[in-house]
Subunit: 192 residues, 4 copies
Amino acid sequence: MSEEKHSGGRPRDADAAASIKAATLKLVRERGYNKVSIAAIASAAGVARQTLYNRWSTKADLVLEAVFEETGHYADAPLHNPNKSCKLQLEAFLIQVFTHLKESGSPIRSLIAAAQDDPAFREALRERFVKPREVLVIDLLQRAQDQGELSRTRDVKMLSNFIHGAFWYALLNGEPVDARLARDIANEIFVA
Amino acid sequence: MSEEKHSGGRPRDADAAASIKAATLKLVRERGYNKVSIAAIASAAGVARQTLYNRWSTKADLVLEAVFEETGHYADAPLHNPNKSCKLQLEAFLIQVFTHLKESGSPIRSLIAAAQDDPAFREALRERFVKPREVLVIDLLQRAQDQGELSRTRDVKMLSNFIHGAFWYALLNGEPVDARLARDIANEIFVA
Amino acid sequence: MSEEKHSGGRPRDADAAASIKAATLKLVRERGYNKVSIAAIASAAGVARQTLYNRWSTKADLVLEAVFEETGHYADAPLHNPNKSCKLQLEAFLIQVFTHLKESGSPIRSLIAAAQDDPAFREALRERFVKPREVLVIDLLQRAQDQGELSRTRDVKMLSNFIHGAFWYALLNGEPVDARLARDIANEIFVA
Amino acid sequence: MSEEKHSGGRPRDADAAASIKAATLKLVRERGYNKVSIAAIASAAGVARQTLYNRWSTKADLVLEAVFEETGHYADAPLHNPNKSCKLQLEAFLIQVFTHLKESGSPIRSLIAAAQDDPAFREALRERFVKPREVLVIDLLQRAQDQGELSRTRDVKMLSNFIHGAFWYALLNGEPVDARLARDIANEIFVA
DNA sequence: GAATAATCGAGACGGTACGTCCTGTCTTCAA
DNA sequence: TTGAAGACAGGACGTACCGTCTCGATTATTC
């Protein structure tokens, strides 16, 4: 069902996509998004330049896919853990996110940057990166309100903005995005 | 005293700097940062391309200066207004900042983006844009604590991060950065 | 056999080479070598600038090829004509060379000039322009000696230098290089 | 009489001209004419760039003066030496010229090259370098005819062209311009 | 002695050209 | 039809020069 029909012609090289994404991640981490050309990625992947254009329409698309291929799935992981307080669940979630960033922080910063001049790409980033995390956090905060751990007077949407905003702000300003930040954010959100 | 000494050689054309910055702002607002070439700025300013290179080492530097030349001073404006509650002062401050962004939001988004691939430039942006606003907000929050308007249990540094983070998050995600957001942020900070 | 193998990749546009060389000759004759920029040639040929760099490493190389493409072959023409005296054969040969110069004298002067600052290019010019003509003249003079038309005491290598030197000297000094010069040279060589 | 009246204003620095010419010769010999910029000469001479423009209108003019300043006078030296045969006088003269070229050959090649794109400069070179040597050689050859050392049937103007042409040809083709060439030329001219 | 005027060091300016790099498209051959 | 290879149009980049110009400072001559 997920297999597209192959109607004649040479089939796509299955290995190509993997080696391209690997080369993309490697180069972007080493040199930074803007210092990596499409030609350099193709060359590092041992692939013709056209092969990249066959599959991704822009460099941003490619990097987006490369970055979230491997690690994009953790967002589906069950955040709900009845044994822990919501505050600790939030902290644990942030630590999980920040750990991923330790490796891919630079590419993600680059993606956010690339999104600023390309509305279509900004939307893609929103769908794949931003919204899933917002949903998780908002759910968690609502659960906290249901369980009386968080006051019903708090605006969970704005709190979510505070949480994500705080880590974007640190990320984009080059400040450490680590366990300490996760704890400080969680503490301040659940302060009252 | 603030004038740099002129130690020989033809002095720089004072008009040139102004027309270059004006052309820069105009073009960046119209087309977006990455769609504007240095040659186009020079041409619009009626100036030789080399003249830009004589004064700014990168396009980011130029745009940074152009954006904050005119509006960078309002941060010095007295934020302290004894007749208003701190919450309203915060809201007023944010409205002021957001008003500026209505005009220069796109260039500033571009600057934040450009900073992600250039540590030196990120530092410059931090000094000229980020830090001054942090200082203002932190002072205000501390005053609020002194006056009993804000609980001493709150971490003003993290609250400042929430405030700035919330607006960066909205800005970079293409959501409205307006008076409503200012009010919502102020409300949530002073919620208790 | 003389065709270079095509080992993958889009083949070079055959028309492009022709139109580039044509534009090169036209512009160099009109404006002079140093007044013609690579960009101007590309533009006149309706071709991207990079296409020129793909094929020739320097402007001198390009002009060299353009100048000798059309007319470089006459050197192969049989100089040996048993019905004429060697003196008249020399005169006819020089007239032939000088006629070519009437059209391309300016580009050739430019090539000689360009060769003075580029040893590699000087060698190329020697191979394509200088040596073939030396060989022809030396052969002719030796034939003249064999037939008793020229004394065996003469040094044909030096006489060849006299002949070519005289016409370079005239060419580079802006003096007429015409049939009269051809006759005068031939007369003086066969004077005795 | 050769001193121009100085009617007010700071007089020109007398040392400047010397150090400029020295720097010019040094740099042109080291790097070649086209690889030397006016700015580099000024810098090497410890002089402002404008000072060069105050005195010479083009780089070619400057180099012309620099090259012939020191050695341009030998052409006035008496070539007539009754004790030697004209052939030996010619050989001695050529050796004298070629010795100068051993040091300044490269700049002179450059000057001939530069002249090809600048008629005014070609004329200047002709006056200062070409014609004086032609006159000397023609006089010598006429003396040789008067004394019976050279046949009256020879065209001394063309012989002069042969002589100068032969050495230009060698010079511009990168062949040795030395005592051996001087002897070979003299021998062949006086062959009969 | 003061005014005048040309020169000098320094360096900005308008301009032209350079050679490199990159993007996205196209065109060939081979699989 | 895909892939490898590479040419092509187009455009931006940063650098290097050129010849001109504009400063402040200097150094003569002329008044």
